[in-house]
């Protein structure tokens, strides 16, 4: 028997109303407690990073969070390392990737959403199968080829961009899902109105695709900031050719951590700031892309 029915039996409609409200209050406050707890748990690591980046008294891990001595030493220290170089490397590759990858992904997904050609289904199936191979395997050969081309170690940035961008056509799912939601009759109307396929894309589809274009740019821009595997392989020990992820990772090695732990925190903050700010501004589009993509599969 539900609470509802019980109330109905024991007392009149007035009491039932009160009971409902009381039980809702109870469950709502439980949820508030939960949400506050979740918020704390999710934010703590970031608060810790920020606090420790201002800690001066020790560069190594300590058992407390709030610094005893505040200062910008760690940030100043960043400039004595290769960090600015890593930062620039990452920024350039993120920017280039954002532009090129967006173009490629949009070409691919628009075509697969709008054109019906003989090879369409086989092509999609083929890419699905390709995606089941661990991409990491290709690293070995890509490294050697890029090495032959002179695009590794200190020259790793163009090599990295090439690797990021070249296969990005495989990640067409989310934006294809978006294009699928634009009614096909718009294309048809425009074609009857005298537009070529190219004009349809330029004048009808692209203006309607702002959310997905921004989503694609955003994700493409964010990926290189966090890429670790390829970047490390292609930089291959060269500090000048590292990106932030590889550089900062190395600071946490057993022999470096004691010296660089708080500097790592400062570096992390520096990396997180631009990405987070950009992300917060464009959050709306990201949410749209993620939810749409999951539903479409």
């Amino acid at each position: 028997m539900t609470q509802n029915e019980m109330n109905q039996k024991t007392s009149g409609p007035v009491k039932q109303h009160m009971g409902l409200r009381a039980s809702r209050m109870l469950s709502n406050s439980a949820i508030y407690v939960l949400l506050i707890a979740i918020s704390i748990i999710w934010l703590i690591p970031f608060v810790c990073i920020v606090l420790q980046s201002f800690r001066v008294e020790s560069t190594w891990q300590v058992g407390y969070v709030i610094p005893q001595q505040w200062g910008l030493d760690n940030y100043r220290n960043l400039f004595n390392t290769d960090f600015p170089r890593w930062y620039v490397n990452t920024f350039i590759s993120a920017l280039a990737t954002a532009v090129l990858q967006t173009i490629i992904v949009l070409c691919m997904s628009y075509t697969l959403s709008r054109f019906r050609f003989k090879m369409r289904k086989p092509l999609m199936r083929f890419m699905l199968i390709l995606g089941m191979f661990p991409g990491m395997l290709t690293m070995i050969i890509l490294y050697r080829v890029l090495k032959d081309l002179g695009l590794t170690q200190q020259n790793s940035v163009p090599g990295l961009i090439l690797v990021y961008v070249a296969s990005s056509g495989m990640g067409y799912y989310v934006s294809k899902g978006f294009f699928d939601t634009i009614p096909k009759s718009l294309d048809e109307a425009a074609r009857v109105d005298g537009a070529t396929r190219f004009q349809v894309l330029k004048k009808i589809i692209l203006p309607l695709s702002k959310p997905i274009v921004i989503y694609t740019i955003l994700t493409a821009f964010m990926a290189p900031w966090g890429d670790f595997v390829f970047a490390r392989y292609i930089a291959f020990g060269s500090s000048a050719g590292s990106n932030v992820a590889v550089g900062l990772y190395n600071w946490l090695n057993k022999d470096q951590i004691a010296k660089y732990y708080t500097t790592f925190c400062a570096g992390g903050v520096m990396v997180a700031i631009p990405v987070t700010v950009l992300f917060m501004c464009l959050q709306k589009y990201y949410v749209e892309g993620v939810t749409g993509g999951a539903v479409k599969g």
Binding site: L186, E188, V192
Partner: protein
């Protein structure tokens, strides 16, 4: 302002399903042709093949004597109105209508001239600066028509343009399309599943089923001389009553014997039966609801039946009756022919006697073809 000619046009999809079988039709200049049929009959596919939005698997489509099979839609000089309007959501009404003209690189002042002109005809001048999403269904439909209108193209294609509107608006827009047609004076191809639209709009109606043309004719022809059972049932509402019975020839006269009654065929129909030298045979008899009349008492030509449902439609009554062998028939009677008392008596279970008008019956052979016209 052009003729359209379809010769053996065929559509076969990749999964080997044939949507349209050898379709042959000539549409004259300035004619208004309606494709009508149940959903999935291939009517829209045929229209889209004329538009160039669907590949043609076989046969040829000619517009103004030119084979257009391999031409892109933009090169066929056609205008089209879509079922869901297909307005460009990011453009204002003005830009929507002007889109095709600008693609043609027409000077802006001429674009302005044409767009405002069309807007005036359609009564949407005050909405020109709005976006489509701020418009009601009827207004959107007008914009879609306006977009097709300004182009002065050879052929005007409409794919179920009214089916997204509510009933009242649909009637109003139907009237407006008739007016529009007089103003534009061009060739129209119109697709609908609604036989009323087909009857009221078309110079000629093409009735399709499963990708095959069942009959082509003027509204009067398809209504009065259906070639087969399908057309007979599809055109007219409520639909024609059908019953298995016998045609009996006695000397010079023809009789039908539904449910034990014996009704004489007379008037033009009797002459036509003579004309095709019809013999006595098993037939399917078709009688439209409005051609059934109430007989007051039992008799040789009266069929006894019981009333099941009485639908009051205002100016007429639709009586659903069932005969002794449980065949259901619909009878349509003008309200004006009955007194108030008589109407009150028409309740469930009431015993009725009905008979058929002898001069407007339809006779079909067992295979569904019309005995006279099939």
């Amino acid at each position: 302002m052009a003729s359209v000619k379809l010769t053996d046009v065929k559509k076969v999809y990749d999964n080997k399903v044939t949507a349209v079988h050898d379709f042959n039709l000539e549409i004259a200049d300035k004619e208004f042709v309606v494709f009508v049929g149940p959903s999935g009959c291939g009517k829209s596919t045929t229209l889209r093949m004329i538009a160039g939005l669907e590949d043609i698997s076989g046969g040829t489509v000619e517009i103004d004597g030119v084979v257009v099979n391999d031409l892109q839609p933009k090169d066929r000089d056609i205008a089209m109105v879509f079922q869901n309007y297909a307005l460009y959501p990011h453009m204002t009404v003005y830009d929507n209508i002007a889109f095709s003209l600008r693609l043609k690189k027409m000077p802006e002042d001429e674009v302005y001239e044409r767009v405002t002109n069309a807007a005036e005809i359609l009564g949407i001048t005050e909405y020109l600066t709005r976006k489509p999403r701020a418009l009601s269904g009827g207004q959107r439909q007008r914009v879609a028509i306006g977009r097709a209108m300004v182009r002065n193209s050879k052929v005007f294609l409409m794919d179920e343009p009214l089916s997204n509107l509510d009933a009242k608006l649909r009637n109003q827009m139907r009237a407006e399309i008739i007016l529009l047609r007089q103003k534009l004076n061009t060739t129209f191809v119109y697709v609908t599943h609604d036989q009323t639209e087909a009857m009221t709009l078309g110079d000629r109606i093409v009735i399709m089923r499963d990708g095959i043309i069942e009959q082509v004719g003027t509204p009067t022809e398809v209504f009065e001389m259906p070639h087969n059972l399908f057309v007979a049932e599809f055109i007219g509402a409520p639909k024609m009553n059908l019953m298995e019975t016998k045609l009996v020839k006695e000397g010079d006269k023809y009789f039908v014997t539904p449910f034990g009654a014996k009704i004489e065929v007379n008037g033009a129909k009797a002459e036509e039966l003579k004309g095709v030298k019809a013999e006595s045979q098993e037939i399917i008899l078709g009688v439209r609801p409005e051609h059934i009349v109430l007989a007051n008492e039992p008799g040789e030509h009266a069929i006894p039946c019981k009333l099941e449902v009485n639908e009051m439609m205002g100016s007429e009554l639709h009586l659903h009756v069932y005969t002794e062998d449980e065949t259901r028939l619909i009878v349509r009677i003008p309200t004006i022919n009955l007194t108030m008392e008589e109407r009150k008596e028409l309740v469930y279970g009431k015993q009725l006697y009905i008979t058929f008008e002898g001069k407007v019956m339809h006779f079909f052979k067992k295979d569904g073809l019309n005995l006279i016209y099939g």
